[in-house]
Each structure stands twice: as structure tokens, then as C-alpha cells.
Amino acid sequence: MSETVIETRNLSKTFVRDSFEIHALEDVNLQLHRGEFVALMGPSGSGKSTLLHLIAAMDRPSSGQIVTLGQDLATLDDHDIARWRNQHIGFVFQTFNLIPVLTALENVELPLKLTRLKKAERLAHARTALELVGLGDRMHHTPRQLSGGQEQRVAIARAVVTDPDLILADEPTGNLDAVSAREVLTLLSRLNQEFGKTVVMVTHDPHAAHAAQKIRYLDKARLLPEGDVPEDWTMAATQKR
């Protein structure tokens, strides 16, 4: 059995909005292993993104425990969590979220600025990452000068430039056309297979989910047992077909 990289125990998250309590996650128990490529699927509001944010320590759980890469995140303060995130997590957003005033190269270099690397080393790493995603000829373009697919590939380069253990992608193909989406999924699969990165991807798209080795479903804030699919989800898929 390979090493467990994510383990959640009775993980719950409740948001309070205008005095209403919203249960975004309830008693989620999940184990993911090194080198896995897992897709998290489920209807809107099922808690997929919330789970991803908790795994990345971008948010704190209301109750339960989460151990990512052997680290109980509850024991870290904000400063240490930021450093931990920089070293171990690469995050890819649906809306790319590049800094518009920086070039592709500068965007990719940004997480490395938090390391002790010298400028020349940082730039060398950033160039390598951009070449890896096939954008060696777009290094000095700003996000406005890139297509959506290219922007997302820059975002993936930024996510992998620190050589993180875990790549978390929140609807990475949600804003892309079919061709660009396929390129991005191929890239994520390559990172998983060639570089052994553990990838957790939240998606609505069943085609995208098929790029993953395993699909886990969330429904009404709960993680369904492995192999189970939400009832509404099956019906919708059948109607689509």
C-alpha cells in the first residue's frame, strides 16, 4: 500500500450566512494515496470545493481532523500554514487567477519568491515549468495576451514550479473550450503519471473526470462510499446520453 497523503476524519465545515447555518461538509472520511489522480464530483453545493480548500489548508474545518502529507494542519498557525502550502501544494483555479500585471514568466516565478532561491535560479525553474506546459515561447506575454487554455497552462506551471507533492485543481476545465480542456487534462495526467504527482481535481464534467484514475462523489455535503454515485446524478447522465 502506498503512502497516505490525505486523510480526513469526520471532517465537517459549517458556514454561517446571515444567521443561517449552512453545512457544507458533514463527517467526511477520505483517504488518498501518493501518486493517485482522483476526481471529486457531485452537484453544485455538494461540498467539493470546500473539501479541496480544507485539503489545501485554505480554510479551517469546523470539526474533525485533516492530515495532509502527514501534517495535522490544526497544529500549524497561519504563518506556518502559508509556508507549508507554498512547499507542498500547487493549486489550479477554474478562472486561472493569474496576476494580470505580470508576464507568464513572472507569474510562474511568484511562488518561488517565497523560497530562498536566487533570482537566476528562480527564473530557470520558472522557464522549465513553462516549457513543460508547452509555453516556452509565451514567457513574456501578459495574461491578456494569452488564450484561456494558455492562461490555464501558465496557472499549472505556477502550481508545479515549487515541485509540490499535491496538485489540487478546482474545475480546471470549467472555463475552457473542448480542445483546451483536453490539453489541460492531458497535462494533469502527465504530471500524475510521469512525475508521480498526486492530483485531486474537482469537476462537474464527466469527460474530465475520466482523466482521473478514481472518481469520488459528494452529495449533500457527504462523501459517498467508493463506487456510489448520487441518484440524481445517474439520472441526469442517463438523460444526457
Binding site: M58, H79, F93, E106, K113
Partner: protein, 385 residues
């Protein structure tokens, strides 16, 4: 923070129009602050020159309009520490007409004492002798000579007002001086003999040259004590204090200047604060992104504050260069209330104004930057303006 420089600089000019307007508004305010600061420096902080530090002025305790007996000169000369005493009489009068361009200060002095009490007045030896020898001679400052085209040998007629006489003077010398080089100086003896009787025996001021700067305070006390029981009591003060007393005629200039400077600083704080708040608000999402990449609260706070400081400092530097230009023009203009030639932007005011810029930048951005840095990642990523 240096490694974030490209991010800071690029963010500073993200909205070019807004940044330019903010820089210009700060530049305009800092320019005004610099000019007022330069005035404050000249009036209250500029140390007296070596020669100035040795001079004291004596006037009637009641006011400048009340004269002192000429006979006081001999008694003052006997006070301990006094090296020399000279009459310095404001003449007033009119040259040609009452147009402002023809206005300049005219004083009756004692030429044989003048150059020992005012060693900073530099004049060619032959001109000096010519001025001292001839009773109707006068000496003009270089700046005045340039302004009104006076040349050696020119005849200048002054129609008196306070003194009901007509003086016909000949320019015999032109002096250079680091300050006060816009005066016309002529023989007190000429004025005295033109004003026979009581008026010729009264003068507005005496200028004392002390033997050393240490003796200056004692001389002031001794001279005033000497005439305490006289009909015309004296007020003796340093030249610097005497100059400042003219400012007091228009009110408490020190408080006025400081109040205006404070108001300017407060106003730019508000303008800058509003701009910085808008700028940070537009980028709350990016704060979430930076945090996702591993930026700490402190790093985010630092980056946003640095952006604000860059903008404010740029405005400050531009403003100070404009202020230096304005002060240079003012220093060339004719002096009216004070000697404008001393108006420059000293390093102290440069430093203070740039410090104000940095303060404005940092303070105006602190609250929005602090709030943004404390926002949770999820909240920041969901933020829509």
C-alpha cells in the same frame, strides 16, 4: 521585500490614470508643503551667518515709528563688548513714482563704519573710497542695479515722505552680498544736514557690532538697562530677531505656516487614503491568490504598503522638484517683505517632505492593506467588487 519589487512597481502603475492623478495630487500638495517649509526654514530655522551673529539692532521700545536720540550712539559704544555702533536710518521716500517696480529699500548709514559692521558687503576698493569720500554718493546692491539698470555715475533723486527733503544722489559703488543686495545706502550726514534741527538728531535704529557672539546677549541687556529710565527706552535684539519682528506685523506666522502645513498633510492623507482603499478593494481576489501561493499576511501587508509608498514618494519627489523651481524663481524676484534671495529648498525640508510622502503613503494604505491581509483565502477568492 526587494524581491517583490517588480510586483510592487507593476501594481503601482496598474491603473495608469488613477496612479497619475494620485501622483499629481500628492505632487501638488508636497510642492506647496515644500514652498511653505522653505519659508518656515528661512524665517525660523535658518541659522544667522557668522557676521549676522555678531550684530544687534537697537530701536525704540515703543515701536519702530518712534525714533531714538542720536546721542545714544556714544553711550552705546561704551557698553562692554561693543566693537562699533552705526546709525541705520530707514529713509522711505519715492524713486520716480510709486510703482512697485521702482520700490526698493533706502537707508542712511555711516559709510566709514559700514564695511566693518557689514564685512559681507563686497565692493571694489576704488568704488568703496568714492562712496565714502563723497557726501552725496550712494551705493546700490548688485541685484537692484541689475533690476533698475543703475550704473556708476548715475544720478538718483529720492523724494522724501517721512523726511520732507529731496535727495540727489550719485551712484558711486555697487556691492555684492550673499543677502540684502537690493538696498540703496547713502550718507546719514547728508540726510542730517538736509534736516536741520530736532529731526536731524533723531534716528530709527542703531546697528551694533559685538566683539564676539558670546557677548551678544550681555550687550542687549546692558544697552536696554542703560536707557531703562530714559524718556526713550530701547529694545536691543539680534539681527535675526529684529528681522522676525517685521513678520509679527502680519500675525503669528509660525502658527499660520504650521497650521497650513498640517492641513495640507491631512488633506493628502484623505485623498490618498481614498485612492488606496479603492485600489486595494479592486484586488481583494488577488490577495486570495497570493495567499494560496503561500504569501503570509505580513508579506501581503508589506507589498500593498510598499505600493502606496512608491506612489506617494514619486508624487513627493516630483512635488519637491517643482517646489525647488518655484523657490528659485521667487529668490530671483524683487524682495518686498523679506530677503527672498535666501529662499532655497534646504536638505532638512527635502527630507521632511519626503518623510511626509512616505508617511502619507504608508498611513493611507495601512487600514485597507491590513483588512485585505487578514481576509481569509476563501472569502478573498469569492470577493466581487
Amino acid at each position: 521585500m526587494f524581491k517583490y519589487l517588480s510586483l510592487i512597481l507593476k501594481n503601482s502603475v496598474r491603473s495608469k490614470r488613477r496612479s497619475a492623478l494620485t501622483v499629481l495630487s500628492i505632487a501638488a500638495s508636497l510642492c506647496l508643503l515644500g514652498v511653505l517649509g522653505a519659508f518656515y526654514h528661512v524665517f525660523f530655522l535658518d541659522p544667522p551667518t557668522e557676521e549676522q551673529a555678531l550684530r544687534l539692532w537697537v530701536r525704540n521700545r515703543i515701536s519702530l515709528a518712534n525714533p531714538l536720540p542720536l546721542a545714544y550712539q556714544q553711550r552705546i559704544a561704551g557698553a562692554p563688548g561693543v566693537r562699533d555702533v552705526m546709525v541705520f536710518q530707514w529713509f522711505g521716500g519715492t524713486y520716480k513714482d510709486r510703482e512697485a517696480k521702482n520700490f526698493f529699500a533706502r537707508f542712511a548709514v555711516e559709510p566709514e563704519r559700514l564695511f566693518s559692521i557689514y564685512p559681507e558687503y563686497r565692493v571694489a576698493e576704488d568704488q568703496k573710497l568714492a562712496f565714502q569720500r563723497e557726501r552725496t554718493a550712494c551705493m546700490v546692491g548688485r541685484k537692484l542695479a541689475d533690476r533698475l539698470g543703475f550704473k556708476l555715475g548715475d544720478r538718483i533723486v529720492l523724494e522724501g515722505d517721512i523726511f520732507p527733503v529731496r535727495l540727489e544722489l550719485t551712484v558711486r559703488a555697487v556691492y555684492d552680498s550673499p543677502r540684502d543686495n537690493e538696498n540703496l545706502l547713502f550718507h546719514f550726514e547728508y540726510l542730517k544736514e538736509s534736516m536741520p534741527g530736532y529731526r536731524g538728531e533723531m534716528v530709527s535704529n542703531f546697528v551694533i557690532a559685538a566683539r564676539s557672539a558670546e557677548e551678544v546677549p550681555h550687550i542687549a541687556e546692558a544697552v536696554d538697562a542703560m536707557f531703562r529710565n530714559s524718556a526713550q527706552q530701547t529694545k536691543t535684539e539680534t539681527e535675526k530677531a529684529f528681522e522676525l519682528s517685521f513678520l509679527a506685523f502680519i500675525g503669528n506666522v509660525k502658527v499660520f505656516l504650521l497650521s497650513v502645513c498640517s492641513a495640507i498633510t491631512f488633506t493628502i492623507l484623505l485623498v490618498s487614503g481614498n485612492t488606496m482603499a479603492m485600489s486595494v478593494r479592486e484586488r481583494v481576489r488577488e490577495v486570495g491568490i497570493l495567499k494560496t501561493l503561500g504569501f503570509t499576511r505580513g508579506a501581503i501587508l508589506g507589498v500593498i504598503l510598499a505600493e502606496a509608498v512608491v506612489i506617494a514618494l514619486l508624487g513627493g519627489i516630483i512635488g519637491m522638484f517643482i517646489a525647488a523651481g518655484i523657490l528659485d524663481l521667487m529668490s530671483r524676484a524683487p524682495s518686498i517683505a523679506t530677503d527672498m534671495s535666501r529662499l532655497t529648498l534646504p536638505p532638512l525640508i527635502w527630507g521632511l517632505c519626503l518623510a511626509v510622502s512616505i508617511f502619507v503613503g504608508a498611513v493611507s494604505a495601512f487600514v485597507p492593506a491590513w483588512n485585505a491581509s487578514r481576509r481569509s483565502i476563501v472569502e478573498a477568492l469569492r470577493f466581487t467588487d
